[in-house]
């Protein structure tokens, strides 16, 4: 941020606080690309301060009850997009069935920000360092996306197109995240950052020994997380753990193309990713 930015003030906009989702969606449609959804506001308010977002309307969705649920249904665990990072960490359902997400939520900014940050806002910003997306991808989560005229479901792995860009249209919002049931599932999340506090690499792991399923998403090293499952990793369920870890880490290391930026170089990101995954696998199988 430059010192000339007028970041003490926000640009002019009209604030709306709809009571329900359909009202929010018709406001989005009405403003035809010039409205922004406000969830936790942690990113949007900063973007407005920096004049990187200049919406004519701001639509506050955080009080909408329909977007605040965490429920078990026949589809899986359904999480409302306005559930906060603090609420995710406290939820018994998330702690038991969506461990990578419970742990990732504990990294979404500091403990105070976590009372504001929402899971929907976290993934919608489409930034590589976002902690929510790798966690959701490791659980094969899908997203319910709605507009005034349409409802569609997309895999979480299809959300981000490029850095800061998602497949969401201006009149759409994420209403729900669905994590399909996996019997006997455990999982973890690991993050490595330097003094800049921007992630160099993250790893989300989801494991079910019952269903012989292992899924890993490696985040923060490119525009969107990389996804690997047991078959891509050549995992041998009756094999030796050390051997399996070694093979997996080699496969991950040789398949990713990490970005270089002011935070870290490509090769460093690759090495850190390998170490993070190896440690997380050891933790996970140690406790499985």
């Amino acid at each position: 941020m430059s010192f000339t930015t007028p970041y003490f003030t926000l640009p002019k906009f009209t604030y709306y606080k709809p009571d329900n989702v359909s009202e929010a969606l018709s406001l989005l449609k009405q403003h035809n690309g010039k409205a922004r959804v406000l969830a936790g506001g942690v990113m949007l308010v900063n973007m407005m301060k920096e004049r990187m977002a200049l919406p004519e309307a701001v639509i506050d969705i955080k009080g909408i009850g329909e977007l605040k649920g965490i429920d078990i249904t026949d589809k899986g665990v359904e999480i409302g997009s306005a559930v906060t990072a603090s609420e995710l960490q406290k939820s018994e359902i998330i702690k038991k069935r969506c461990q990578p997400l419970a742990k990732a939520a504990s990294y979404m900014g500091d403990k105070i920000l976590q009372n504001s940050v929402t899971i929907g806002g976290n993934i919608s910003i489409g930034m590589p360092s976002t902690d929510g997306l790798p966690a959701l991808m490791s659980m094969d989560a899908s997203l319910e996306v709605r507009s005034a005229d349409n409802v569609r479901t997309i895999p979480s792995s299809d959300l981000v197109v490029n850095i800061g860009r998602t497949v969401l249209r201006a009149d759409e919002m994420i209403t729900k995240i669905v994590v399909p049931h996996t019997e006997g599932v455990t999982g973890t999340y690991a993050k490595f950052l330097n003094a800049s506090e921007v992630a160099i690499s993250t790893a989300a792991l989801s494991l079910s020994l019952t269903q012989k399923k292992l899924r890993i998403a490696v985040g923060a090293i490119s525009a969107k997380p990389y996804y690997f499952d047991q078959s891509l990793l050549g995992w041998k369920w009756d094999g030796h753990l050390e051997e399996n870890i070694k093979t997996s880490v080699e496969i991950i290391g040789s398949s990713v193309k990490p970005m270089s930026d002011a935070v870290a170089g490509s090769e460093y990101r690759r090495e850190v990713s390998k170490i993070l995954v190896a440690r997380a696998l050891k933790d996970l199988f140690g406790g499985a």
Partner: protein
């Protein structure tokens, strides 16, 4: 412009605000609540932390209109709570400040943390306090002050 009503430290207050005003500015400039400090303006330092309906939030990241109909508690509002008074005395006893600019935010945040979990300790306590930054670096003293004040929050008679 619209008129909003916020219960600030137990008193119902009205303010006429623009939709794009930050809660931080309204608290300080329109409602005279000056323990809430402005420093980084981008959610990093935590010096503008207030309790909004009981939860710590950073008021530089919150619109004033979002607080309409809600309850805000700041350091000024903690005088009525015996435990919070003792917590503040603990900051003094431990010399948990140098310039004092971050103290209201640390007091508000640690009051919330101890009210929720008076047994909290070690890394967990440090993590809970990590949303507020002290540029003078009196973290050891702050940690000791808060840790020591846990006894007041465990005391059923306070």
């Amino acid at each position: 412009m619209r008129t909003i009503t916020i219960t600030v430290n137990g008193l119902s207050r009205e303010a006429t605000v623009e939709d794009n005003e930050l809660l931080l500015n309204v608290l300080r400039d329109k409602l005279g609540v000056t323990s809430v400090k402005a420093a980084c303006w981008r959610g990093e330092c935590g010096l503008c932390t207030v309790l909004l309906n009981g939860l710590p939030v950073k008021s530089c990241m919150t619109l004033a209109v979002e607080a309409d109909g809600k309850e805000v508690v700041t350091a000024e509002g903690l005088y009525s709570d015996e435990r919070a008074r003792k917590l503040q005395e603990s900051f003094v006893e431990h010399g948990a400040m140098q310039c004092g600019f971050c103290t209201p935010a640390f007091v508000v945040t640690s009051h919330y943390v101890l009210s929720r979990d008076p047994e909290i300790d070690g890394e967990d306590l440090k993590r809970e306090l990590s949303g507020v930054i002290c540029r003078c670096g009196t973290y050891y003293q702050i940690y000791d002050a808060v840790r020591d004040a846990r006894k007041y929050y465990k005391d059923k008679n306070l």
